[in-house]
Point group: C2
Chain length 265, copies 2
DNA sequence: GCAAAAGTGTTCTCTATACACCCATGG
DNA sequence: CCATGGGTGTATAGAGAACACTTTTGC
């Protein structure tokens, strides 16, 4: 418990003196595992609800850096695909199903006796939050709760738990963004391990788009992009033809990223 | 001058008591005129530099509402196409070419003797700004300067004047966004007058994309979307065939907006 | 040999592109 | 009748979708 008080004292000073008031960032961190698209979520201590990993912006840092730090601290990953997608500035956004975030915070902080009222007030103010979305290799990420939360886990987007504030809406918007991205950017490189089969990639696309794709056409379409390098075969031990493994040709991948599709006659 | 002092006193109270500190919004308002894509800009009093029309967020308003109000006050338009596109949170964003915004504000406010120091400080703080872009019919808009600025004018995006802070970057990002939008949304409805020729529409697309398009193919492509209604011919008096006028079929237009193009096999 | 999955091929349709052609208009 | 721009037609190449066919693998 002493450790908690100390952490809160540090937090208190950091937030009120060092962070921009009223601004936060939230990260929608996507991973792909077991044919499912997943999101990294935190569960607060003494609470059932979950939330997106988020943070505040140091007065001396770019906002992007704040997002980068959150991502790094929650996943342990350094080199990361990270993009801003939307800023949520509704005045009622801290409220969902009648539960206000202010009430939640008050209740939560009362568990820790020694907490300064200033901190409570700081946290209770209206926040405008900027959403970032990230694509990471789920096998390399090592989820770590922050000290406010008990759990840090991957949750399938098809079965999300109860989320606080407008975080469900934020995830939805991130997904919309991701789907649009898919139309003119190759994205697998961030979500898959180094080596993968064509089926892996197809299942990733299917998980994101929520649409079954035709196997042979998918293969042709992707290969024609010219960003994959075919490697050795993968002997699975199953009673069928062994699939090739692929990896991304990072140089060509990067060139393709520059383009996109265009309305050009 | 008395009027100014009063305005500043009102502003002072409004800002410090009524608006969220550290957050602003900026609007990139596009219009189309004389074959050129234009942006609505303001020029401060006693200054040569220009800026985007912007504003602050009332503590009791959604952020979207703040943007809507700015747009309305600067153009006089009510029913408007308005979209958030990006939030600019760089810590050095108020600085460009060595000139800080803080210095500019200080100098500017000194012209008005009676100004409270609190106001100066409030304006000098670090701001995170959210960019909105709008598409309006340039003929219906009635540009109005706010009381801080002298002029409010349309400027061609191909020849922008000197802009304060990171406003040039903001316009650039809005343009990028607009071009991407063009790939899967019809957008002319907001930028053109009720009736227009196919050439008008094509020139709008060319102005946005900065690419010449093939006349006959453009016509077919657009008509196939099924969102245009052909009207009477327009007799221009020129020595050539008279072009048809068109208007948008708003119902079908709206349906098409819902879709977009998709990676679906 | 058989089932299952992977890889490749074929066909059809639709779109994009380039360009040709005719039509309308006013001088 | 001619120059100019508008509307439509056409030919070709490429992409997407559906599906057939062949190959590989372990039982």
């Amino acid at each position: 418990m002493n450790q908690h008080i100390e952490e809160f004292t540090t937090l208190h000073k950091q937030l009120i003196n060092q962070c921009l008031p009223g601004n936060s960032i939230d990260c929608v961190i996507f991973g792909f595992d077991n044919h499912q698209l997943k999101v990294l979520l935190l569960q607060w201590k003494h609470e059932k609800v979950w939330s997106l990993p988020g943070g505040f912006i140091d007065k001396n840092d770019d906002m992007d850096k704040a997002a980068y730090r959150v991502l790094q601290e929650r996943t342990g990953l350094k080199s990361i695909f990270l993009n801003q997608f939307y800023t949520f500035g509704g005045k009622e956004r801290s409220q969902v199903n009648g539960v206000t975030q202010a009430r939640r915070i008050e209740k939560f902080l009362k568990e820790f006796k020694n907490v300064n009222q200033d901190l409570t007030n700081w946290l209770k103010q209206r926040f405008i939050t900027t959403g970032y979305f990230a694509l990471v290799d789920i096998n390399k990420a090592k989820p770590r709760p922050d000290f406010l939360s008990e759990k840090c886990e991957w949750k399938s987007i098809r079965n999300l738990p109860k989320l606080m504030m407008d975080h469900r809406k934020i995830i939805q918007k991130a997904l919309d963004h991701l789907r649009i991205q898919l139309n003119y950017l190759p994205i697998g490189i961030n979500l898959l391990p180094q080596k993968f089969t064509m089926q892996d990639l197809q299942q990733l696309y299917e998980a994101i788009l929520r649409v079954p794709l035709e196997r042979s056409n998918f293969q042709r379409k992707i290969l024609k992009l010219g960003i994959l390098i075919r490697l050795e075969k993968q002997m699975t031990g199953a009673a069928n033809k062994a699939p090739y493994l692929y990896k991304f040709d990072k140089a060509k991948y990067r060139i393709l990223i520059e383009k996109g599709i265009g309305f050009v006659s």
